[in-house]
Symmetry: C2
Subunit: 225 residues, 2 copies
């Protein structure tokens, strides 16, 4: 457990989709860093099971709940659900998410014979869709490119990547940068306004293409920053 940076003190992080590989991987890292974490899932039972396993594994404070209860419990709420259920879930949870910082990690991608590609999103991006559906929350886009495999592997001590953090509210993007900084190897870098989230989400298609070509778990570093 490291000392938490000031913006994270006493913050509980809820992870919606916390039993999926990306959500669980992020939760594992934050629990290891000493943050209280609530895993959310459609099934409270599955969330509780996954939380108990993570708590045992990390020695951290991890509990589980259904997504609505997790959303209510978190001070910061990370959305790591499949693109398919993104809009419906957020529409449902607009009440409990009001007044909170919501971190959208979702990548709207399609796959065909030629591999991955970016889907068109009416609002521009998943993050902008979240902002449209959650007018009383502060939406930040981040953690799009992190490898679920590396995050969820307890043998991997450091995750070698920068996290581009997008948003229109400086306090919120600073908070989410601190969430990235809390994970060893990771660094949060401000990446622009929410209207520039599409290309960051879509770049995940390129990283998947890179992983296929180079047999890697590619991440991104920003140089000269």
């Amino acid at each position: 457990m490291t000392d938490l940076p000031e913006p994270l003190a006493d913050r509980t992080v809820a992870v919606l989709g916390g039993t999926g590989p990306q959500g669980r991987g992020l939760a594992r890292r934050w629990a290891t860093a000493g943050l209280p974490v609530v895993l959310g899932s459609r099934s409270a039972e599955r969330a509780e099971e996954a939380a108990a396993a993570l708590a045992a594994d990390t020695g951290g404070r991890v509990t589980g709940a259904d997504n609505a209860a997790a959303a209510a419990a978190g001070d910061v709420v990370v959305v790591a659900v499949p693109w398919d259920g993104h809009a419906d879930l957020l529409r449902e949870l607009a009440g409990p998410l009001a007044g909170k910082v919501v971190v959208d990690c979702v990548n709207p991608l399609g796959f065909d014979k030629q591999g991955p590609f970016a889907l068109a999103v009416e609002e521009g991006s998943a993050a902008q869709q979240a902002a449209a559906l959650l007018p009383d929350s502060v939406v930040v886009g981040a953690f799009h490119h992190v490898s679920a495999v590396l995050l969820d592997d307890p043998e991997v001590a450091e995750v070698d990547t920068d996290v581009l953090v997008l948003g229109d509210d400086r306090d919120a993007t600073d908070l989410v940068r601190a969430l990235a900084d809390a994970i060893p190897g990771m660094r949060g870098v401000y990446g622009g306004r929410l209207r520039n989230a599409h290309q960051v989400e879509a770049l995940t298609a390129n990283l998947i293409a890179i992983n296929r070509r180079y047999q890697s778990h590619a991440g991104i570093r920003v140089t000269d920053v």
Copy 2:
């Protein structure tokens, strides 16, 4: 002058828009690396002047010509013109560009009070527009994120960035990766098919936002590759 990698042997690189900052910066680096370079510009006279200055500065083989003559002279032709004139120029030069590898570096961006943003492109991206207008060329997207300031500064020995190289033809993307590798500090990384070029072009808006926030000349490195 370094030994050129095999795919670049005896290749002349033409740079359309070679008197603009990005084009001239790339030309400077390739001339320094020992590649014969032809600067193209709307005005043959301005191209010849810029070429003479670059040749004197680098000791390399640099000549200048109007864009059409440069396109005809190059084995590989780099398109580094403003987005505004992109379609018109390529439509005009489809003849001389036939049978060649065309490297599109163009970023369709807009700017307003809130800073940079990605423009929508009917074909999906500048690179895909080039491919549509040049059916007899092999189009590759690359060099979107390189800092013109760093490239064109002879005091900067190494340009610390990876170059994402996008295309559907393996030989062509390998050739363009070698063009990136020929510049000290730079590395060419395959970045996916041409249909995934939009987000790489658009990411330039994020890098500009990063530069404004951090007072940097940000580039991108791909980790684990």
